[in-house]
């Protein structure tokens, strides 16, 4: 008998990154580490821009491609347009 049940924590196991058809890629030469992409990511799978730090101490955003569904919100809100949505090649 197959039961449609799940134990806690399965949202970690279901890698929703497989749904993605466009992949956000960040051009670090243009990125100003403002953290807008991190704030707006609905998953949230962009991390790494710590707002408490001084501008020179801030790090670049990191995208977790295991869970990023490629919605493109980050590319849309980026004030310097340094995130490009690149088609996933299979």
């Amino acid at each position: 008998m197959m039961l449609p049940i799940a134990k806690p924590g399965t949202s970690k196991e279901n890698k929703t990154g497989s749904w993605r058809s466009f992949r956000p890629e960040t051009d670090k030469s243009k990125c100003i580490k403002c953290g807008m992409c991190e704030l707006f990511c609905p998953e949230p799978c962009i991390t790494g821009v710590e707002q408490s730090k001084k501008p020179e101490e801030k790090t670049f955003p990191k995208t977790d491609y295991d869970y990023c569904k490629g919605c493109g919100v980050c590319a849309n809100v980026c004030p310097v347009k340094c995130i490009k949505m690149v088609p996933e090649e299979k």
Binding site: M1, M2, L3, I5, A6, P8
Partner: protein, 379 residues
């Protein structure tokens, strides 16, 4: 064993009570209202642990799903539009493998609005993954209840006990209702395979991706097919313990073994069919009846065996599939498709929305069948 003279609904409700459900969740609807009312008064008297007076049938079924998921033995009662309103939750109950028992007082579907009997409400839900047992009289319906719980909990599938609105729900008959002590000997306590438990948290009714959804449906289908054996086994156990049976548990053969012309039907109308058969037999006509008890899962092998070698078969049903062959007729065609000698199989749709089906009407049907021509008609 004490027979009392009681309305079908009340006997069925008492049988439900004696199965000791933890939760009853009902919204009354004609013609099954008396079952829900009686369960409510059992609750008022402290004889049922919980009764939820819901605001709709969708809520009734949803409450049963929640309660069953938490490990409770549950019951709901409905008819017609009520079952139609439950529809999405009906599929969910089966998909989640919850052994809910639903008492169905069969009634037509709107429009036009009609409160009387046919089988269209439960027949419409035939593809939902619920086991469906149809009953000829109050005694059969009453006996089907403890069996329904035992089947449901053995195979982790929900069960509908279907009995004809008014013809059985409201008819007063002498009925032997199994007592609490008797039912306790027959029906073990409900021990769910999995249940909602804060100490061991799980989510039920999970999401299945395209990679897995079909696997679940196929598994459910295979378990439904396999449940035929369990229905028969539990019927035979019950018959041994209580001394009452309904054919072989899947279908009843009435004077059909040596018959050339056999009528196939379901439910209360089989009473009139049997009377017509008795009259024709007195005149020497070889006629008989195969009464289906189990309609889902459909007992194809048993039906094929019961109809083997018959020359003329007629299916009378109070159900339809508009724009297609009637549902029970279609199943009977499939059941005998591999038979070597091809019988003539006719379909009669009738008795819809309480249209009376008399012994005389049954005699007319046998008259039509005797001509040996294939007929597909509404009568």
């Amino acid at each position: 064993m004490v027979k009392k003279t009681v309305e079908g609904s009340f006997a069925v409700a008492e049988a439900v009570k004696n199965c000791e459900p933890d939760v009853a969740a009902c919204y009354p609807i004609t013609p099954s209202t008396h079952v829900a009312e009686e369960l409510a008064s059992f609750y008022a008297n402290g004889e049922i642990k919980e009764y939820i007076a819901t605001e709709s049938e969708l809520s009734s079924m949803s409450a049963c799903i929640g309660a069953s998921a938490a490990g409770s033995r549950t019951v709901t009662v409905t008819s017609s539009q009520g079952m139609a309103l439950m529809h999405e939750a009906v599929f969910n109950a089966a998909g989640n493998r919850l052994p809910i028992v639903m008492i169905v007082g069969n009634r037509s579907l709107s429009a036009p609005l009609n409160i009387w009997n046919d089988w269209q409400d439960s027949i419409t839900e035939r593809d939902s993954g619920w086991i469906q047992i149809y009953c000829e009289n109050g005694q059969e319906a009453t006996d089907a209840v403890p069996q329904a719980y035992k089947i449901a909990e053995a195979v982790s599938l929900p069960v509908m006990v279907c009995f004809d609105g008014f013809y059985i729900t409201h008819a007063v008959e002498p009925i032997d209702v199994p007592t609490l002590e008797e039912v306790r000997k027959f029906l073990p306590l409900f021990k769910p395979a999995v249940k909602l438990d804060p100490k061991n948290p799980i989510s039920m009714g999970e999401y299945a991706f395209p990679s897995h959804y079909q696997l679940f449906r196929e598994d459910l289908h295979k378990d439904m097919l396999a449940a035929v054996g369990k229905v028969k086994e539990i019927h035979d156990d019950y018959a041994k313990m209580f001394g009452r049976s309904c054919g072989n548990g899947l279908l009843e053969e009435y004077r059909s073994q040596d018959a050339d012309i056999v009528l196939v039907s379901i439910g209360s109308v089989c009473g009139n069919a049997k009377e017509a058969i008795d009259q024709l037999r007195e005149k020497g006509e070889k006629v008989g009846l195969v009464k289906l008890r189990l309609v889902r899962p459909f007992p194809y092998a048993a039906v094929a065996k019961a109809l083997a070698g018959k020359k003329v078969i007629g299916v009378f049903e109070k159900a339809y599939s508009l724009g297609a062959v009637p549902p029970v007729y279609g199943e009977v065609l499939a059941a005998v498709a591999d038979a070597k000698a091809k019988p003539v199989i006719s379909s009669f749709t009738g008795g819809l929305g309480g249209k009376d089906v008399t012994v005389g009407n049954m005699l007319e049907l046998f008259g039509k069948l005797k001509q040996g021509k294939k007929l597909v008609e509404w009568v």
